[in-house]
């Protein structure tokens, strides 16, 4: 009973051993969580579904993302992902200043339609100064002008069975084969701030930011704002597109809702 349970030397030794074993062991024993078809990962990823349902419950369907003042635009919109698509179709349209561009709206709709850029510009527009939040963690405030998607959906008449809107794009990322695509539910599609943007900070939308048309879904992260959109398709399931997860990055392990 004269020996203390722990003297200072033992304590320091224990601490040092603990820290060094932690550093040596590292975290690579959890690398299996990165395997896209892993069982444990699938269980963990169910929390994303919980987040989706919780946010749909907590956030009014029409609740607006914060809007900012002109003075808060302190820099250009930082381009990210594709900045200069090289697909043949896109280059041909770009060379002619997108005069021949047509936005197709089809799928589960009453009247499939095509819109030229001029037709979109002649429809009632919405301008909003909002914050773009990249999944990487940075944010950038910019002014977006475009046609509310709700107006287009009313135009074509959404059929009763439609559940999602899929946006198909001209660009390929990382020199890959897959074309970019994205999707959202009808609540986000009909949200007043969801626009088909053709203007950025008072100018025509630059190529680096998605010309001629990019989508803004302001209550979601940056990868839900597809650029270089050519087709909007109303669907009831994602399986015909990419790997069937509802988006280019979703097919690569990112969550579909992206509200957090």
């Amino acid at each position: 009973m004269n020996q203390p349970l722990l003297n200072r030397r033992k304590l320091i030794g224990l601490g040092a051993a603990g820290v060094s074993s932690l550093v040596l062991a590292g975290c690579d024993q959890f690398d299996f969580l990165g395997e896209s078809d892993g069982t444990v990962r699938a269980i963990l990823a169910r929390a994303d579904g919980l987040t989706y349902r919780a946010q749909r419950l907590l956030i009014r369907d029409g609740a607006l993302a914060p809007e900012y003042s002109e003075t808060e635009i302190r820099q250009g919109q930082r381009p990210n992902g594709s900045r200069d698509p090289q697909t043949e179709e896109y280059l041909a349209l770009k060379s002619n200043d997108f005069v021949n561009y047509r936005l197709s709206v089809n799928g589960l709709v009453e009247r499939p339609m095509q819109y030229s850029l001029a037709e979109l510009r002649n429809m009632p527009a919405r301008t909003q100064i909002t914050r773009h939040d990249c999944v990487e963690g940075w944010s950038c405030i910019a002014k977006w002008t475009g046609t509310p998607l709700a107006r287009i959906l009313d135009d074509v008449g959404v059929k009763a069975g439609a559940r999602f809107v899929v946006f198909q794009c001209f660009d390929q990322l990382d020199d890959g084969e897959d074309l970019y695509y994205e999707s959202c539910d009808l609540i986000d599609a009909r949200h007043p701030q969801t626009i088909l943007a053709y203007g950025l900070n008072g100018q025509s939308l630059p190529v680096a930011n998605g010309a001629p048309v990019r989508v803004r879904v302001e209550r979601a992260l940056g990868y839900k704002q597809p650029k270089y959109v050519h087709t909007i398709r109303l669907v009831d399931d994602f399986s015909p597109f990419g790997s069937g997860k509802g988006g280019f990055w979703e097919d690569r392990g990112y969550d579909w809702f992206a509200g957090i």
Binding site: A47, Q75, W249, F257
Partner: protein
Amino acid sequence: MPLFARTGQRSHNGPLVYRQSVLTRLTHWTWAVCLFFLLPSGLQIFNAHPTLYIGNESGFVYDNAVFRISAVDTVDGPRGRTLLFGHAFDTTGVLGMSGPAQQPRYRAFPSAVTIPSYHDLATGRVVHFFFAWLLVVTLLAWLIGSLANGHIRRDVLPTRKDLLNLPGDVVDHLRLRIHHGQGYNVLQKLAYAGVFFILFPLIVLTGLAMSPGMNAAMPWLLDLFGGRQTARTLHFLAMSLLVLFFIVHIVMVLVAGLSNELRSMITGWYRTSAEHKGARP
């Protein structure tokens, strides 16, 4: 080390008392697991853009950064560099540049402290949000249960008498003179209350303030924290303080007696010091 030795002796003289309820023990270990996964997955997420700013947005053509980890080219070759409030620190080997010298990795936090060990933001997010949910649900269960059973009032919040005793308790801690009583001493109470009522709410709310969805439902969260990027900075700061708490927590458990402290958090039963023989059962 006479004081230290006396502490060890004293801890084995008193009676066993039932100190930790089932709720406290279950939530304690759940939080331990949650934080074990939240920290390295959070560092994985941080690594995707290893700069922290003040304000709503990230300055790319102006500077509102307060913390940045990067790799820079110098005349001596690449180095890891960490910027904190404009002061640069060479952190080669740990932050910005790490791994074997022949094959250095240019990443903010090293492989050893991220989940996964390689760059994989998508998986970092999956892991982070799962355990964030678990943490929040467990916190709510603890809060409701501990308000109901009196744990918060009785054991966590310091009383007036506790606070009057603060200087004496600080001296006791500095001399590593540990009293093993039924309840917590005042520094313990302040540490736990700080974690429960400041750090946990801060880290949860700054996390929610980064959600563009939640920004639409609760725009006041952004006002409260001074913008989304400030919220991200505060989230990182709260993490750092939780890590600091964890280190002190572990050191204190070792100082106070590992087996006794572990037993109390597993079985609930705690061996008090002889001086506490009269303590309530």
